[in-house]
Symmetry: C2
Subunit: 376 residues, 2 copies
């Protein structure tokens, strides 16, 4: 196992007295995700567990913590690398991710830009000054109108004319039709003026569609493409970059999704996209989430919603065996209780504690049924 | 074109006097993304433009705005649907997405849970009470140790035993080896106790790897799987759900990524994942972003970073032709200025205004070079 480290700097909004314990908890959260007592195995402790490398008061309050994670925890894979950088901790309101340093091994595995600034200068033929760029829009225009706009911008001497990030594959201007027409429009302008403008199609969609769009754009002769990493998903974006034969522009859309209300994100959006069960941090866990918000998430997952099937709420995030009955009482029968590290607190007691959890849920469910029967 | 509407409710942190204009700007931001004066085409105005359907003071201050977007703007496609719901607006600090209602057409296109609660009850054989669930962990344990743990939980009578979301395809316990061993362990426990426990593998990775993992898990006999929608990307998650033959659990990791500092997200993470150029909202735009933050993003994109190629900063978000020179002065030559709606303010003046933009950037770049030469 490699001894290389991925370093991430976080801001912790904590009081001085709690800073050290908070940073140490963060190191566990992002790797082993169990209480300290459960970190028994020497390989786990020596090779998997993150550690706090530096901790100092921040210039504007709170603390800056530099955490070092074993590169092996990422599996040298993009989605899992994200997970280690800011998976669970993104859900902790007191943590903010400030910086990261992947180390040579992870950097090589992810690879970064394949073309970079030099590739964009080569594609546009521009050196020694900033490039100029605009977007064809708005959505709703026909392909002919968008292509005419691209031609106008090209004749004006713009270096790059890109699709607006909202131009997808809508009926107003289907993707393939638009790409072909805009490439032709900038080519015609180049014939007139001698200035070569690079038209950049917007690639968007679920992975299969994204791959098809990429192939089409490259075959059609696009000399650069654009995608929104947070919309298509960073790992899908990574895969797109890896196989791209032209430079890739990143668009920031959806990159501020935290301000999505939890009930809308975990309850509605996850259900709409197909989750059969949705795990979320429950009240009384190590994540701050109020009872009202939990109730709303459960309602959004289970309630009638057009023709969509109900999805199973899975309260989690540090529920303890001792509180299982209360959780059953709160969520009712259509739920799944997820208890993690609490079952493993004692190395020799896992079977017994797990049985206790099972018994506790069954008993609470039975009591609930009796209580309901007694009331009716 | 369909007349169906996608409705999204936002909280706007604005003063009463600005609420109506703010909501109207939001409706444009999420669809046509141009100044009001540029919305000239009747199809754009009638079929593409979002509109404010309701606006009322929020119970705790600010305003609640219900926006209605034409379903056609989503192309009935998951990534573009996200884009319409909260693409650019996720970057506006005064907007929070509270709720969404896709309407029957988009809901049918996305599809929601394929199995839902009934499917999970069928997979586990549990009815009339909540299900119990735990996770095998921590990362760093060998496959043998993790499978033993799964067996213990199964013998204790847990309904569902899932991989921790941090168990990926690390060397400590490779994915395929773990899935096979854990399925065998819960099967052995069922032989002993008669209680069938469902083991749920964690599927993680870029799209190709994700698809391989899904296929392997289903072929091996997994009766449910798990993935993190925000880590793998919501559209990749959607595709996974669509082709799944077993219920899918969603894990919330990375769902709070806004607290990622802009320079780390747009500068470092996007570059690390392969962006050759990264578009970000610049100072002086309609998005609040300070000069210091912009400088840091540009530095993170262009500066030396191990063996990674530099990526091109693309300041955007409402830069006007009039301020192009200032932007050139600020970012220097290795940048691309992205000016959008400002070029289209006058229907008949697009070519001339675009030429002005091109001239302005060239002149500012030349002046900058002269100034540097004069100083040295």
């Amino acid at each position: 196992m490699s001894a290389e480290l991925l370093r991430v700097v976080y801001h912790l909004a904590v009081e001085p007295a709690r800073a050290e314990a908070r940073a140490e908890a963060l190191a566990r959260e992002q790797t082993v995700e169990v209480p300290r007592a459960v970190v028994r195995d020497p390989v786990v402790r020596g090779e998997a567990l993150g550690r706090v490398e530096a901790l100092a008061p921040g210039p504007e309050g709170g603390f800056l913590a530099t955490l070092a994670y074993p590169t092996g925890a990422t599996g040298l894979e993009p989605a899992q690398a994200l997970n280690v950088v800011f998976g669970n901790s993104s859900l902790h309101a007191d943590v903010r991710c400030l910086d990261l340093e992947p180390g040579p091994e992870l950097a090589a595995a992810l690879g970064g830009p394949r073309f970079g600034i030099a590739g964009l200068r080569a594609a546009t033929g521009v050196s020694g000054r900033p490039l100029t760029c605009t977007a064809i829009k708005p959505m709703g225009l026909s392909t002919a109108a968008l292509a005419a706009l691209a031609g106008t911008f090209a004749r004006a001497g713009l270096d790059v004319v890109k699709d607006d990030h909202g131009l997808a594959d809508q009926a107003w201007s289907p993707f393939r039709e638009r790409v072909a027409a805009c490439l032709a429009a900038v080519a015609r302008a180049a014939d007139e003026t001698g200035h070569e403008t690079v038209y950049v199609p917007n690639l968007i969609g679920a992975p299969e569609r994204l791959r098809d769009a990429q192939r089409f754009a490259e075959d059609a002769g696009a000399r650069a493409v654009m995608a929104s990493p947070m919309l298509v998903g960073l790992p899908a974006f990574w895969e797109l970059c890896r196989r791209s034969s032209v430079p890739v522009l990143a668009h920031p859309a959806f990159a501020g999704a935290l301000r999505f209300a939890p009930e809308a994100l975990f309850g509605k959006l996850f259900r709409l996209f197909g989750a059969d069960a949705s795990i979320f941090v429950s009240f009384g866990s190590r994540f701050a989430q109020g009872e009202e918000s939990c109730r709303a998430i459960a309602r959004a997952l289970r309630g009638p919603w057009g023709a969509l099937r109900p999805a199973l709420p899975v309260p989690a995030g540090g529920i303890e065996v001792a509180s299982a009955a209360k959780v059953v009482e709160f969520y009712g029968e259509d739920a799944m209780l997820l208890v993690g590290g609490d079952l493993q607190l004692e190395a020799d007691g896992v079977l017994e504690r797990s049985r206790e959890f099972v018994r506790s849920v069954r008993a609470a469910a039975a009591a609930r049924v009796s209580a309901v029967a007694a009331r009716t």
